[in-house]
Symmetry: C2
Subunit: 148 residues, 2 copies
DNA sequence: ATATTAATGAGACTTAATCTCAATAAAATA
DNA sequence: TATTTTATTGAGATTAAGTCTCATTAATAT
């Protein structure tokens, strides 16, 4: 309870601080979108955020949702996740717990994984090619335990 | 010269064999599309294949290009590559030389890499979660040597 | 040579995402 | 606090990748 409240306050401050740093305005819409993205740990897409906010009675535009999500991604408050279904998904960027994804091609469920060795090997590959990594995409597609 | 010729013949036979195995027809259009995809090692997209064939005077439909590429991917003659620019790319599936990609976010160039350790670690992750891997996506995004 | 039926072409349609522009509302300033 | 400035917004038009439909065509089986 208290923890959740703190979490929300802290992340609203993170939003405000980021926007100020960039000279952008701390608007009602940006707060609502950020809040919505923070309200669950699922991998949400822009259309879904848009419709959720509309259902809740907020008179928000689709364009605002897309524009705000862009701002959040560019400022590393959100990570963009592409599971190859033609729709970008977004999740809170937990700076100290990076992870990649397993995607079940039967039921669509998304599982997370993290492996330090793979991260290290990626860095070595980049170093060898004198390539400066900014971010990466790593998904394993297949059939999950339940679907087999 | 001889090698290239053999390569084309072999891969046309691969196409024919795959189509027969699936009870599909060996049509002029499928031959042309496969040939076009084989004619360069670049990472091609469907629209580009479509326009290239039209420019060459072939009266082919966009739908046929997309449908044929689907068939080729499903039968593992092509690998689908998604570098996150909203367009699917395709490349000849070299069964004995699997690779993943480094993508320069400045110039768009695509570099290939292969790392057996990463492949093995992926298998371990899947095993731990009792997940049956079918394929994977692995891209490192960043700035290439030339662009730095 | 003919019959069967999968594949094709044309273009309408879908869907995610972007763009435009007049109206609005944060934030800066007085 | 009232006013000014200018970024942001909403509505909906637009774009772009990809899919769908259906009458026609052409591979393959007979």
């Amino acid at each position: 309870m208290r923890l959740n409240l703190n979490k929300i306050i802290i992340t609203m401050q993170a939003l405000k601080a980021t926007l100020q740093k960039e000279g952008l305005r701390y608007t009602r819409q940006r707060q609502e979108i950020w809040n919505e993205l923070r309200s669950s740990d699922e991998h949400r897409d822009a259309e879904e955020i848009f419709f959720t906010l509309r259902k809740r009675g907020l008179n928000i535009s689709r364009a605002t949702v897309y524009r705000t999500i862009d701002v959040l991604v560019k400022n590393n408050l959100l990570d963009k996740l592409d599971i190859g279904d033609g729709r970008a998904r977004f999740e809170y960027n937990e700076k100290y717990f990076h992870h990649d994804h397993l995607v079940c091609t039967r039921c669509g469920k998304i599982f997370e994984f993290h492996n330090d060795n793979i991260e290290e090997l990626q860095n070595e590959i980049a170093k060898q090619k004198n390539f400066k990594i900014l971010h990466h995409n790593h998904q394993l597609f297949g059939i999950c335990e339940d679907c087999q």
